[in-house]
């Protein structure tokens, strides 16, 4: 009996953070709706969802990487890179499917390169991905000559502006990615190993698991997620911008951390990331609608990140003392 009770208690504790996040999200929606009649319109909701979709896709990959105790700063550049590959392939007459495949493959390979340098080169992921971030962006600027690449077919732009019933394609794609991410992290051996790498890499290695290979693959998955986000961004604008995705890595990290994934690794939550993503985007959109300057938005995002880390640290300590 008491066992059952303690288990229910524990379950509530486990999800309490997610419930807090959900409460914050709802409170924010209510407050902004009251402040502005435009906010809760269907058009604006779709807009928020579309915008969130892009962030959500990279945040899912980031959640996996951070769970493994690593960081990937290159996702913003990879968004631009995959878009550029897709754009250039399309311009040279490649079918949309081929262009997309090439773009996604390139982003996956950049991720694998990150992972290989971290796992086999035994380098710090922060430094490795900071380097690939600037290298990839440099390559984009050189190859595109700092010009936008455009001229896609309708089959390609459908990904950005098409819809399945009332739901826009970006949302459909992002939810599929989030679902797959959640299954990978919480239901598979691979996800378990990712968390364990973050928790105690030495222990995992000692038990005979090929840690390095898993580390490399998780970066590959994160790269692929960034590639998918790049595909959505490019298709929405019908143009591959050389500076697309710049700074997005920060939002992805913010979403993952706010969502309850531990920066130290070993603990991750996709559902938390999803809600956190919506919180950040509702906030951005709300501030824009209330015509508050984007400079203030930046300040606020920073504060939210600090506060969320404080909350999650406090939450951890609380749990340990129980």
């Amino acid at each position: 009996m008491s066992d059952r009770k303690s288990m229910i208690n524990r379950k509530v504790k486990e999800y309490s953070y997610v419930l807090i996040l959900l409460g914050i999200l709802i409170a924010m929606i209510l407050i902004i709706s009251m402040a502005s009649p435009y906010f809760f319109s269907w058009k604006n909701c779709r807009n928020i969802l579309n915008q969130s979709a892009i962030y959500l896709v990279i945040s899912v990959g980031m959640t996996l990487v951070i769970s493994a105790g690593q960081i990937d700063l290159s996702v913003g550049s990879v968004i631009g890179f995959s878009g550029m590959v897709m754009g250039m392939m399309s311009l040279n007459g490649a079918a949309p499917g081929v262009a997309i495949f090439a773009g996604l493959l390139s982003s996956f390979l950049i991720g694998i390169l990150n992972g290989a340098l971290v796992a086999y080169g035994k380098m710090n992921s922060f430094i490795v991905t900071l380097s690939t971030m600037t290298i990839a962006r440099g390559v984009i600027l050189i190859l595109t000559n700092s010009q936008s690449v455009f001229g896609f077919g309708t089959a390609f732009t459908f990904i950005g502006s098409g819809a399945v019933g009332p739901v826009n394609m970006p949302i459909v794609i992002s939810l599929i990615v989030a679902l797959i991410g959640a299954v990978i992290l919480h239901k598979t051996t691979f996800g378990n190993y990712c968390l364990f790498i973050g928790s105690n890499e030495v222990a995992l290695n000692r038990s005979g698991v090929n840690v390095r290979r898993y580390k490399m693959i998780v970066f590959g998955i994160c790269g692929l997620c960034a590639g998918i986000a790049g595909m959505i961004v490019t298709a929405r604008l019908n143009s591959a911008e050389p500076l697309a995705g710049q700074g997005y890595e920060m939002d992805a990290i913010a979403a993952a951390i706010l969502g309850g994934t531990s920066m130290k690794g070993g603990k991750g939550s996709i559902i938390g990331t999803i809600i956190a993503c919506f919180i950040l985007n509702v906030l951005k959109n709300g501030l824009t609608i209330l015509s508050i300057s984007s400079h203030y938005q930046e300040i606020l995002t920073g504060f939210i990140l600090i506060i969320s880390v404080l909350i999650s640290e406090y939450h951890e300590r609380e749990k340990r003392e129980v």
Partner: protein, 251 residues
């Protein structure tokens, strides 16, 4: 020597192990035997060669000369993999657990139950509960993170994992270090229980009370040699300490 009285074969036997690191002779001909169902304590001052011996047994270090006999099979050196296959398991001091991961994940680490990469979480939980129950390790809920458990419970999880992976000889290196009284009591009981279930247990400890409390035999090492082997029941703490410090010379 008392071990000669036995007619059963030792599960693990080392003969004349030598190992030096540059000019330091860490082991100078160490021969020990460990039997199933028995707790063998290895004691000695710092630098006596205990750790080197353990590392050789778990395959981390290669001896310069000498043999290791496990279950009748003779080896000149072991690799960590080979040692594990032969059932030699070391419970490390740092425990080698993932504190943010739940008990079941830790127990099955490296040998998860899965189909096509998908974890069978429910089955793992049930088997983990059964495994812990068999070893009489009390953990209320196998889905809590290991970091939320007490030191003794964590030690229990680490042991259960080794047993699950087919460990037959369990080496404990200072298992009660940095533990409270109740905690160490629980760990000592667990060690005793393992021996009574037929496992061969080797215990390294500086704590003479613990050693006398649970060991059957005591092997005293000094300056890279086994200077004396005594039955715990037939000796006293003073005698053991005098051999450790070298105030009594061995035969």
């Amino acid at each position: 020597m008392n071990t000669e009285e036995r007619n059963e074969k030792p599960f693990l036997e080392t003969r004349e192990l030598y190992k030096s690191f540059r000019h330091v002779e860490a082991l100078r001909g160490v021969s020990i035997r460990a039997y199933g169902g028995e707790v063998l304590a290895i004691v000695g001052d710092n630098g006596a060669g205990k750790s080197t011996l353990i590392k050789i047994l778990s395959g981390v270090l290669t001896p310069d000369s000498g043999q290791i006999k496990i279950n009748g099979k003779e080896y000149h050196k072991l690799t960590p993999k080979k040692a594990a296959e032969e059932g030699i398991s070391t419970v490390y001091q740092d425990l080698a657990l993932g504190n943010t991961m739940d008990v079941a994940s830790n127990l099955f680490l490296g040998s998860e139950l899965s189909t096509a990469g998908f974890l069978k979480k429910k089955q793992m939980k049930e088997e983990a509960e059964k495994l812990l129950k068999d070893l009489d390790i009390k953990i209320p809920n196998v889905s809590v993170p290991v970091g939320d458990l007490s030191g003794g419970q964590r030690q229990g999880v680490a042991v259960a994992r080794l047993v699950h992976r087919g460990g037959k000889i369990l080496i404990f290196d200072e298992p009660t270090a940095a533990m409270g009284l109740n905690e160490s009591e629980a760990v000592l009981r667990l060690i005793r229980r393992l021996a009574s279930k037929g496992y061969a247990v080797i215990l390294i400890s500086h704590n003479m009370q613990h050693v006398f409390h649970i060991s059957d035999r005591i092997c005293i090492m000094r300056q890279g040699k086994v200077v004396k082997e005594l039955k715990s029941k037939e000796t006293s703490m003073d005698e053991v300490v005098s051999f450790i410090t070298g105030s009594v010379l061995s035969e």
